[in-house]
């Protein structure tokens, strides 16, 4: 029974990774850049929700909504100010800029809200679903996280495949030059991608903070890096890949902690990642692209 408990807590952790990984993978797929500030947008989202809930006592759904709105605005602003001027620059410059934005957000948060952590109170009532006479308990927040993650993934896949904006996104991801020749507004499409990615970050933030209730300025960095790993694991640029990568990463991490060693769990996770990438360099669900010479 302990195995199932480990498994479920791994899936819970993995769902949060997956939600964050979706943001990474979408931006990478369309703008071809690694937005390392993504983890810090999560941090901002968590702070917004924290203040909304604890200072202004707004209902939970409103706090989530507010957090989503703030994160979308922030994501678009960052894209306009920091990344858009570098659209034609080398990808390395954009990468460094993203790291700069990440530091800016972390230090800004430290100045505004100090580095002392804040305790987030869960958006739903704490407690657990008891199964098999209490032998197995799954906390409600884990159930909510998994459900939200699956729902968002379905909605996103539908959006990308069946709407006009979605096709514009796919076109941009294939070839930006050709897309703009066909009359697609590339800049607008990229902005929308950032908006969606940041909105998802806000949702992930609330779920992350509800499960692991500590909000502090560098809270986004570690989950951000793990989620980025998950995105690479599943195949960066692929939406189902982000989900699969996130879930696998969470489960491997938790099982490694439970059965092998808590000290080596991260080493084990990354060892698995290396093996997967050796066998399949584009990630589990990554598309293989043939370069024409």
């Amino acid at each position: 029974m302990y195995f199932i408990t480990y498994l479920i807590s791994g899936i819970g952790l993995g769902s949060v990774y997956a939600l964050i990984a979706l943001g990474y993978t979408m931006v990478y797929g369309i703008a071809k850049m690694l937005n390392f500030a993504h983890g810090d947008i999560i941090m901002i989202g968590a702070y917004v929700a924290f203040f909304a809930l604890s200072r202004f006592n707004v209902p939970a759904y409103l706090a989530v909504l507010l957090s989503v709105v703030v994160c979308i605005a922030l994501g678009i602003t960052i894209e306009k100010l920091a990344y858009k001027p570098l659209r034609k620059a080398a990808s390395l410059s954009v990468l460094i800029t993203a790291i700069g934005v990440s530091y800016f957000l972390e230090n800004g948060a430290q100045l505004l809200w100090t580095s002392s952590p804040k305790m987030f109170s869960s958006i739903i009532k704490s407690g657990a679903l008891e199964l098999f006479d209490g032998q197995l308990s799954i906390s409600y927040i884990t159930l909510l996280t998994i459900a939200t993650c699956i729902l968002i993934m379905i909605a996103l896949t539908y959006f990308i495949n069946n709407t006009k904006t979605g096709s514009a996104m796919r076109a941009c991801s294939e070839d930006k030059g050709a897309a703009s020749l066909m009359g697609i507004n590339v800049n607008r499409t990229i902005s929308i991608t950032f908006a969606i990615g940041s909105g998802l970050a806000a949702v992930a933030a609330v779920l992350l903070a509800s499960t692991y209730p500590s909000v502090y300025p560098t809270m986004g960095s570690m989950p951000g890096i793990k989620a980025f790993t998950a995105a690479v694991f599943g195949g960066v640029g692929s939406i189902p890949g982000a989900l699969l990568g996130g879930l696998l990463l969470g489960v491997i991490e938790t099982l490694a902690k439970g059965y092998i060693s808590t000290q080596l769990s991260d080493a084990i996770v990354f060892a698995v990642l290396i093996i997967v990438l050796l066998l399949k360099p584009t990630g589990i669900l990554g598309k293989k692209k043939s370069e024409k010479v």
């Binding site: 807590s9 952790l13 692991y212 902690k257 000290q263």
Partner: protein, 383 residues
């Protein structure tokens, strides 16, 4: 063109004014106490508390003496071993004669040798790593600690648990990339074996790990009745929440890093109900010294002082006691003051907020740890 010249003149004047300001500070007739700590960054909570409390003590002493007996300067080192040497240089330029060393161990390790070579007496309020007073080969005779060393905390915790029969099967969850946590963990396990505690589960985590459910499950699976947490309060708060969510309710036992958990913004005190912690200072103790300190601190800074603040307050007063007894005057060289202070500290007894302290020749403090238990959201002395 003209405008440019005006700007230049203004800039030059400003620079001159700044330089003049620096010069004016020289030759003051107070004993200069310096120190560095994280005033920005992750650990700023501790640094700012230390700075405020030390300033409070200095102000009180100056008021009592009726003159500026001490001058105090705190530099920011962001708890970063790369920045503390810079802070140290700034303090030396200022003319530091006595030091409260550094707030955190990591930053202190980078300047420990400088302090020793330059013969500056250094008393750290809160740097608990033994490397601050001992470099593996030689003992830094100029360096002393107000707080317990890490190994002592581990030993004292195991002794306390065994003596009061809190549990026979214990689990430990520690942070494996933190010297503080690791060294308490190591001595705890060693001492536990001696006093007959069975350590059934030893698990660890890394900085910024978010999930502790696997570690808790491991402890629960092995039947631990008590979970020892030699960690800071931020991960501890998450561990308490996750244990509560999964319905696992052992006794939680923390050390001084757990202090501050009740002051966490948004923390629900009922989560920490029944948590034990070993700390030399409890802000709601009712003895006169604590009441006076807590009231004065709250009045000046608006927050409840943590144990770090109490340690810093004690550090300044211990230096004051030694200066008085050794007839230290502001015109003495730092090296001479250092010798006098070493004589005083190794022989004197200092009754402070955090207990009556005596110092060993190696710089370690000797005072008795107090255990408190959190009851209805306040610390109560545990028996």
């Amino acid at each position: 063109m003209k405008k440019n010249n005006v700007i230049k003149v203004v800039v030059v004047t400003m620079i001159l004014a700044l330089l003049a300001g620096c010069g004016a500070k020289e030759g003051s007739d107070s004993i200069k106490i310096g120190g560095s700590g994280p005033l920005t960054g992750d650990a700023a909570v501790y640094g700012i508390d230390v700075m405020n409390a030390a300033q409070l003590a200095v102000d009180e002493i100056n008021a009592k003496e009726g003159k500026e007996y001490f001058a105090f300067k705190m530099e920011d080192d962001a708890a970063d071993p790369e920045k503390s040497p810079i802070a140290y240089s700034t303090l030396m330029d200022w003319g530091m004669q006595v030091s409260i060393y550094t707030v955190t161990s990591g930053a202190g390790l980078a300047v420990a040798e400088d302090y020793n070579n330059d013969r500056i007496f250094a008393l750290t309020p809160s740097g608990s790593n033994t490397g601050l007073i001992y470099n593996g080969k030689v003992n830094y005779d100029n360096a002393f600690q107000v707080c317990f060393t890490d190994p002592n905390q581990g030993r004292a915790s195991a002794d306390y648990i065994a003596e009061h029969k809190l549990a026979s099967k214990v689990a430990v969850i520690y942070r494996s990339d933190d010297d503080y946590s690791k060294s308490i963990y190591a001595t705890f396990v060693e001492e536990a074996a001696k006093v007959g505690l069975e350590v059934v589960s030893e698990t660890s985590f890394l900085k910024d790990d978010a999930d502790y459910s696997a570690q808790l499950l491991e402890a629960e699976k092995n039947g631990a009745e008590l979970v020892f947490l030699p960690i800071y309060y931020q991960p501890a708060s998450v561990i308490l929440t996750q244990a509560n969510n999964s319905g696992y309710a052992p006794i939680f036992f923390g050390v001084d890093g757990m202090d501050g958990i009740l002051g966490l913004d948004g923390f629900k005190a009922e989560l920490a109900e029944g948590v034990y912690l070993l700390t030399p200072f409890a802000a709601d103790a009712t003895d006169d010294a604590t009441v006076h300190f807590v009231t004065a601190f709250k009045e000046a800074y608006g927050t409840v002082p943590t144990q770090f603040a109490a340690d810093a307050y004690d550090a300044v007063y211990a230096i004051y006691q030694a200066c008085k007894a050794g007839n230290v005057t502001p015109d003495m060289a730092a090296a001479d003051i250092c010798d006098i202070m070493i004589d005083q500290f190794t022989t004197m007894e200092y009754p402070g907020l955090t207990g009556t302290s005596r110092w060993a020749v190696n710089g370690e403090v000797n005072k008795s740890p107090k255990a408190v238990i959190i009851n209805n959201g306040v610390y109560v002395a545990a028996e």
